[in-house]
Symmetry: C2
Subunit: 255 residues, 2 copies
């Protein structure tokens, strides 16, 4: 009679609240170009009607998009899409929307550029400033990577490895940057890891980085990271070359 509560039948624990879903929807459509910068969005009442929700929910979604710099709303004017320069593109959500809307190859190329700029220097700083505890964490991540059997396990370890280096660099501003990049790369999973071929191929490259940081050799850390990124860069260029063409705008599959 009492319908036994199914222990855990809900596969999606991401039961996003309403305002989050609305923000997600509207935000994605802005990044998507459906609402270009300078455009006046529909007013609150129209959103309410089109979504079938109350004004409160709509307003809270609007506030979130405001907080991300996507829109600016004022009485009597309405909500206007801000110029792109105001967008908080480095916000996790915004970046995800962008990355889903933009040409994925184009995005990947730019991402690779940023990595090539940041990561060698991050590793060099880590080599210079790491504490013993931070080194231990990097080594633990490396071991986890070496023991990884599945692709996803390897990827998790890889992320841990890079984050540990990031933290060891000891620069509070570099950390969120790195996190953003890695989160975005996670969304591009299909374009990076899965194309990378066999799992442990880059393990020696990672070992070199670890050794350089352990031995406090900034310059060799820099070189080791550059070498590793050359590998990634080759793949990126391959993908870019392969997908030059009309199909390039296909939305990417987010795993």
């Amino acid at each position: 009679m009492k319908p036994k509560k199914p222990a855990v039948a809900l596969p999606p624990p991401v039961r996003r609240s309403l305002h989050r879903s609305l923000a997600q929807d509207i935000g994605a459509r802005i990044l998507n170009g459906e609402f270009a910068p300078g455009t006046l969005l529909p007013n609150e009442a129209e959103w309410c009607e089109s979504f079938g929700v109350s004004r409160t929910a709509v307003r809270e979604a609007i506030k979130m998009l405001m907080a991300k710099g996507l829109i600016l709303s004022r009485p009597k004017i309405g909500s206007r899409v801000q110029p792109r320069s105001q967008w908080n593109l480095l916000d996790r959500d915004v970046l995800a929307w962008y990355c889903a809307a933009a040409n994925p190859v184009h995005f990947l190329v730019h991402m690779q550029q940023v990595r090539e700029i940041l990561e060698p220097e991050t590793a060099a700083l880590a080599a210079a400033n790491r504490t013993p505890e931070q080194l231990a964490e990097i080594e633990a991540a490396f071991r986890q990577m070496a023991e990884a059997k599945s692709l996803s396990a390897w990827n998790a370890a890889d992320v841990r490895f890079h984050q540990a280096i990031l933290l060891a660099a000891g620069n509070e501003l570099l950390v969120p940057l790195g996190l953003v990049i890695e989160s975005a790369l996670g969304s591009m999973f299909a374009y990076t890891a899965s194309q990378r071929g066999d799992i442990g191929r880059t393990l020696p490259g990672h070992r070199k980085i670890l050794l350089a940081i352990r031995n406090r050799k900034p310059e060799s850390a820099r070189l080791a990271v550059r070498a590793l990124l050359r590998d990634t860069g080759r793949i990126v260029r391959l993908v870019a070359a392969a997908r030059k063409g009309p199909a390039a705008r296909r939305p990417i599959a987010v795993p």
Copy 2:
């Protein structure tokens, strides 16, 4: 006499609405350490009482802080301050709060590190990829800088110069990064420009950058920017050395 309506009125006369002020207040107190990560914030009703505002305003402020990754609120739990790793430190507001709360010298040192990593490469990319229009904008900014009489005029031109280079680099991800850095540097005005001594002293350094970009010489652009940053770096180190001590935590003056 009658002040004719200036063609384009002040865009944001900082007439912050209530929810924005609340978000500002609470956000600053989080960054400030008053509410540490993991802490449970007062609930809505208590905020209402302490601020003397309605629940609507409080809730909208909370939503904005949620959008910036500072807090996470759920029914029956309340609003909990997220771990720092979730914070969108690269958000303009969050960075401003952080920069007002943190040790300014410490902050400046990290900022300088990031600049030394990013800006030379940005300039190199600009030298490689600039379009004629982008070059024209850079040159215009340079002229404006050369003609600047006042400190604030010089600073505005300086910002324009760097932003133009940023845009010319042609990397969509680099742009918001640079904007964030410059906006943060703007807040640290007192620590950078005003200490820099006479206005046009770095003009020759800027000219070298301009020439390198005009002549499409990435490597010399890189070197020129590094040279310029060495100058800034010296000042940063000076300030850092001078302010080592108990007074170092004094909040900075935002111009």
